[in-house]
């Protein structure tokens, strides 16, 4: 997943991630556990997450 500069670090994505693959501290970052399922994209309130192909 690519997380752009819109990210404010609210952590909403992390709470909906099924793989506990998002760390949040000022900004969200995906970890190696990310499987690119894209669920977080739907829940981001500021359109900060893009599926990287």
């Amino acid at each position: 997943m690519k997380i752009n500069d819109n990210c404010v670090g609210c952590g909403q994505c992390a709470s909906f991630c099924n793989k506990e693959a998002i760390d949040v501290k000022g900004k969200a970052r995906t970890t190696a556990a990310c499987v690119e399922c894209g669920i977080c994209v739907l829940y981001c309130p500021v359109k900060a997450i893009e599926v990287s192909l």
Partner: protein, 425 residues
């Protein structure tokens, strides 16, 4: 009569509940898959952390939000918290909590002042009821009246906690409005089930009244016909309405009807929008096996470097955490110039928490920050431009259009109540 509500945050759902109760046919369009905006629960590792606002109603079971919930017959229980306390160093004059601390009652803040300054406060309490101070920031006003820095620290911690502003960022008028409301409505309370307890109760009201909520539904345009709001566009479909309520704040609402607003007669409104500044903050959620605060009251921390206040919501509703666990949340204001340094602001907050809870065992569950397009407040408290827009039948509600003196969600409720009064009479 048909009403469309854009955004299913607290302001949107309160409006939808009231309008559907009054007989409007109401559709709520929400872009995200969940409702509640920055006032709902997020399940994180079994804890019900909040999506934005704390699980708190600043004026509890008798405040403006509780009154509006009661008016629309929303079924949610709000429990009054115990007295707000203020943590101060054990020895007066110490700069921090390093050498020990004690907690004093919020209403006893003046006991830390000299006899002369306490007398002055007593006089001001009487005189300011008739002649409200105005024309300066709270901090500037305090400095003209008192020499004691404690009062500025205390004011910073209260304003940081309640408004996510420093005392030099908020007008003294707004603060006196807030103090008036504290006398009128009383102190904080916690809704059972947290923020989502309130949201769920509103959704039930809307459903009973025949209203519909559509999630994953993004409005791309607000339509204006003959100078009046007439509907919205979702995807390639037009939805007509007699009334549009936007829960997106003034700026984002204006961008949905930018073509109409580009005319000369709206330039004043557009210029005003540019002056609106969102307020920023950081919330640190702690998980612990033992209570960290130990009671249901807000703990203000004026001698911390960044953290303004802390609340332990599981003291009221243990179901907000897994069995036997506690959920404790701290809030810290982030000054505009520090939004770009969030990492170091977070580190300062974490360091504060270690000093506030020495020797206690806890886990940092989640750190959440709010600024810019997903802020603490879309318009800093006291600068709200009201609920009307230059386009008739288009209103703005939510934290970008609150009522005067309304702390956080109480302000959202005051703004919705004022809007409904304009519409329904």
């Amino acid at each position: 009569m048909k009403a469309i509500v854009i955004g299913a945050g607290l302001g949107g759902l309160l409006s939808a509940a009231r309008l559907s109760q009054a007989g409007y046919q109401v559709d709520v369009f929400e872009r995200l898959p969940i409702t509640g905006g920055r006032f709902t629960n997020l399940n994180y590792k079994g804890f019900q952390v909040s999506s934005g606002a704390f699980h708190i109603l600043p004026h509890g079971p008798s405040g403006p939000l509780a009154q509006l919930l009661n008016e629309v017959q929303a079924d949610v229980k709000i429990v009054r918290s115990s007295q707000t306390v203020v943590r101060v160093p054990l020895k007066q004059g110490d700069p921090d909590y390093g050498k020990g601390f004690k907690d004093i009652s919020f209403t006893d803040f003046a006991t830390l002042l000299s006899y002369k300054e306490r007398l002055k406060i007593a006089l001001l309490i009487v005189s300011t009821r008739k002649n409200r101070p105005s024309g300066s920031t709270l901090q500037a006003w305090l400095r003209t009246q008192f020499k004691d820095e404690w009062l500025v620290k205390f004011a910073d911690s209260f304003c940081g906690w309640a408004l996510s502003l420093r005392s030099d960022e908020v007008s003294v008028e707004e603060v006196f409005e807030i103090i008036e409301n504290m006398y009128r409505f009383g102190g904080p309370g916690v809704p059972m089930g947290g923020c989502k307890g309130v949201i769920d109760s509103l959704e039930r009201v809307i459903a009973v009244n025949g209203g519909k909520i559509y999630t994953k539904t993004e409005v791309s345009k607000i339509l204006v016909e003959n100078g009046r709001a007439s509907g919205v566009i979702v995807g390639d479909k037009t939805h007509e309405a007699n009334l549009i309520i936007s829960n997106l704040g003034h700026a984002a609402t204006a961008s949905l009807c930018s073509e109409v607003l580009s005319g000369d007669r709206y330039s004043g409104y557009l210029r005003m929008l540019e002056t609106l500044k969102p307020s920023a903050g950081i919330k640190i959620c702690l998980a612990a096996d033992e209570p960290l605060v130990g009671n249901s009251g807000v703990l203000l921390t004026p001698y911390a470097k960044r953290v303004n206040g802390i609340d332990e919501v599981t003291q009221v509703d243990p179901k907000l955490a897994p069995p036997g666990k506690h959920l404790t949340m701290s809030h810290q204001h982030v000054a505009p110039e520090n939004v770009k340094n969030l990492d170091s602001e977070i580190e300062l907050g974490l360091k504060d928490l270690k000093e506030i809870f020495p020797g206690k065992k806890y886990e940092v569950l989640l750190i959440q920050s709010y600024h810019d397009d997903w802020p603490v407040n879309r318009a800093a408290s006291g600068t709200d431009p009201g609920n009307e827009t230059p386009i008739p039948e288009l209103y703005v509600v939510g934290d970008g259009a609150k009522g005067k003196g309304g702390i956080e969600v109480e302000g959202v409720a005051l703004g919705v109540a004022a809007t409904m009064k304009k519409i329904l009479g």
